[in-house]
Symmetry: C2
Subunit: 193 residues, 2 copies
DNA sequence: CAGTGGGCAGACAGGTCTGTCTGCTCGGGT
DNA sequence: ACCCGAGCAGACAGACCTGTCTGCCCACTG
């Protein structure tokens, strides 16, 4: 198994890439270790060397999702310009882009939480992710000069999570537009005019 | 197996009640048919007579959840008074109440969608539920005299879904307060002043 | 050239899953 | 007296799940 440039792709990466696809597309419990092993072309022993238990792979998967999604969120925010108030609105573009992709199945973290028990690794990782996002929003809200940064951040987080969930159930792209417009209204309202 | 009043509780009801508890608490795939059979004290053959396949039970479960949740939503709305604008805000009280209950694990429908494949019965039932709620919000928004009832309804739906999801991951009750306040702000803003 | 570590291939154990089937009991209606 | 439907109890099949273990191969390094 080699990459286009000829160097071998580490088994771990192949496993993780496959898991990324399958877990998101079908759900954590619906995808067996065997399926990931078969599709990534790895030996079972190799798999278990890198990930002693399935939950370890799930956590690594969430770690990867976190990296990708947070990256998209930040990129969309920065694309909106230097003003933090604009960024708070602009980040919703990442959401619209994500929902439009086909195979979109909602927020990987919320889905993961639905399939894991509170206290487990995957569940904790989900909570941590949501708090990171919230902290980031809080920071932006503060920089934007909101009167109540905490409340603005929370409101936007609710909106974001809602849109993330709805996007999977309601194909109508208007929902994302509404999310963005609503975010704009909330931001405007939260700033000392 | 008899009810307090001495009449036998139909096996079907026992199965459905047990499924309601277990499916919500642990997730669809985490709960085997065997567990439901054991806990509801029913024979396997009886179970399969009422629900030829597990998915049939899942759909019946979602039907039941729909009844309960929609009822709570409507009750909270009506408790806010006769003005549709107040009702649009008041319905968020149902959410706060739900999230505070312990064992709260988010929106049963979103969780179900996360565990089922698009096109399956459970998934379709989820989509239908979300559209019913949206239609109701649209109706209220119309009665309230919103300038763009569709947009207001959608924005509130996003907020509701977001709060429903976050409530399971963020124990902080302030989130629900924020949801309600934000709803109030959106409603106020949407009305021709 | 020998050793070593990473990976491949696949058998295997032990459990759980859904769904089928056979027998038995019991109460109510004819 | 009889039957029939509803339900209980539990064996069984066949698939699938996670996780372990044994063997083999091969490239690199000392």
């Amino acid at each position: 198994m080699t990459a286009p440039n000829g160097t071998p792709i580490a088994a771990r990466d192949r496993i993780l890439d496959t898991a990324f696809r399958l877990f998101y597309a079908r759900g954590l419990r619906a995808v067996g270790v065997d399926a990931i092993i078969a599709e990534s072309g790895v030996a079972k022993a190799t798999f278990y060397k890198h990930f002693p238990a399935k939950d370890d792979l799930v956590v690594a998967y969430l770690e990867k999702v976190d990296g990708v999604w947070t990256g998209q969120l930040h990129a969309a925010a920065e694309a909106a310009g230097p003003d933090p108030a604009d960024q708070l609105v602009g980040l919703f573009d990442a959401l619209a882009t994500a929902c439009r992709r086909d195979g979109y199945r909602g927020c990987a973290f919320i889905n993961a939480a639905a399939e894991s028990t509170p206290g487990s690794g995957p569940h904790e990782r989900t909570v941590a992710h949501k708090q990171q996002v919230l902290a980031w929003l809080r920071e932006l809200a503060g920089e934007a000069g909101a009167e109540q940064p905490e409340r603005l951040a929370r409101a936007l987080a609710l909106l974001l999570d809602g849109a993330l969930s709805s996007g999977a159930l309601d194909a109508d792209p208007e929902a994302m537009e509404v999310a963005r417009d609503t975010a704009r209204a909330l931001v405007r309202q939260a700033l000392p005019s």
